[in-house]
Symmetry: C2
Subunit: 183 residues, 2 copies
Amino acid sequence: MTIGEYIAQELKTDQRLPFDTQQCIFPKKHVLTETGHVETHVYFLQEGIVEAGIHKEGEDRIIEFFYPHQFVSSYTSFLTQRKSDVYLVCLTDCKIERMNHTDLVAAYQHSLVANQLGRHLTERAYLQRVQKEKDFLVKSAEERYLDLLAQRPEVAMEIPVSKIAKYLGIHPESLSRIRKSIS
Amino acid sequence: MTIGEYIAQELKTDQRLPFDTQQCIFPKKHVLTETGHVETHVYFLQEGIVEAGIHKEGEDRIIEFFYPHQFVSSYTSFLTQRKSDVYLVCLTDCKIERMNHTDLVAAYQHSLVANQLGRHLTERAYLQRVQKEKDFLVKSAEERYLDLLAQRPEVAMEIPVSKIAKYLGIHPESLSRIRKSIS
């Protein structure tokens, strides 16, 4: 799916963005956004999985996994144009269509569809953030693991166990126990 | 300031929203949005202070105070049209201009300025949320109290001490100690 197709499907409009997007192929482990750099893009993930995380005292803490047909960005950095706290890295080979900050912000001055898309993806990001906060407060690691599997079962299988443990905030051995008790 | 004036100032456009807003005067303690109800409005606070909170085992937990020239809404409920987890109440007499859900969502289909405003206020809400999460992780109650005073010193003076303690998540006596040590 392209951004154009996503717009047609989700925003129910046949309007097109008034700027060109870039089509990219990135290999596994390619860093999209580095901690300490300013985010210059919003990425639309066409194929593959992207990991968002924080470097914390030498160890990475994984905040989120992104799947095909989702928008990905270090969004606070994108909006403020200040240095990013988080990194974004390709967890698998990825096919990505991206929009750059200059084009998008310029289009916000006059383009209906650019604003509709910007509003839509910000609403999604907001709701995701709220849901995540709530899940952390009320759900156990096991429940959050089951949610991860339920969300995109076929894709979640591609995420290494060590990464899932870092996402759940538990030791890999605890995750092994959860996996055994489920199967 | 009206929503029209806010749009002119923040979005740098002389376009007007394609629907009527409602101008309201609410007394102190008036409930704008009740927990368990669906949010039907986005409020623009012209004068006064609004408190957002959660009822938790009989005791209220205050999430945020809103000041003049800010938009206020139980925004997750507004976006999803599901029951609200939070309540919104007037902490003082309030002068408010409000937009209703039906008008705003209908305008999103065709109006540039409605989408610009919707995008802008969602971006603000997103950034506020991220900042709040960070502050809770890294700042002490004393630092958060100083932030509250710094943000809107003249308005923060109108918030009762008991409410500020509920916002900081500390006992009123601890807040008294902090206030003494500062002055």
